[in-house]
Amino acid sequence: MAQPLARCKVIKVLFFRGDRGPFGKGVYDALRSGLADPRQDPTRLDCLLWAGHTGVSFDLGKTIYGFNPDGGRLRISEVINYLESGNSLPGVVIDDTGVFQAAAARTLEVLEFDIIVPPLTFDEFEQLVNVECKGSRFRYDFPNTNGDCNCATWIERLGLPLVTGRMSELVLVADIAAKKSRQFGACTP
């Protein structure tokens, strides 16, 4: 007699695009001013509310973990300029629940979808994230540099599938085929 299947568990992926209007312009101004005057530097939260963010949750959205750059002693404005220049920084995984709550409070649309998996897969992925929280093995970068990933691709690097597999869905991913190459990791072309 076949064993009954275990109950599925849910890994939730959450993301928001960011406020690209006057708020975003204000953060941009603060970043540029902050390079010359540390007092003008924006907060990490404001940068994320402008840029957007992605996170993952194991308790249906109560706690949301996100991958971020660890700038060490660098100011926020210096971190952003460093990343824009094509450099990478050590990655750090943080409880970013507050970021998503702030995004919702600003009426930014926080999108989410569930990855439904067997308990063993759930436990393995949760353990991977727990280990990442203690010290990430990935370097944070903006797309197409010698780092490993950003907040969105970190989830993929850990092995969580994001697309359903329907070809129609893949084709609709904006510019996916137009960008003919994308680098992840340090190597020489």
Binding site: G18, R20, G21, P22, G24, K25, V27, Y28, D29, L31, R32, L35, C47, W50, A51, G52, I80, N81, L83, E84, S85, G86, D141, F142, P143, N144, T145, N150, A174, D175, A178, K179, R182, Q183, P189
Partner: protein, 75 residues
């Protein structure tokens, strides 16, 4: 091909692509060429009524951004 994609959307995607190309090159000449095209795309976006501040991953570092990029188009 999606016939209803706007020119603004295409140019916004182009900014992101140029930023990616910039980051993957360390050649100053190539970076200059990319920055020049970036400036042209920004000008076109502004002329076409652009109203967004692109995220940092779609921007060049401060010293390479065009002078016209001051965010004044964001209302």
């Amino acid at each position: 091909m999606n016939l209803f994609v706007s020119k603004t959307w295409e140019d916004e995607q182009r900014l992101g692509s140029l930023a990616m190309e910039f980051r993957s090159s360390r050649d100053p000449g190539k970076r200059r060429h990319i920055a020049d095209e970036y400036a042209e795309v920004v000008q076109r976006l502004i002329r076409n009524g652009w109203n967004e501040m692109p995220p940092p991953e779609d921007q060049l570092p401060a010293d390479w951004m065009p002078r016209s990029f001051d965010g004044s188009w964001v209302k």
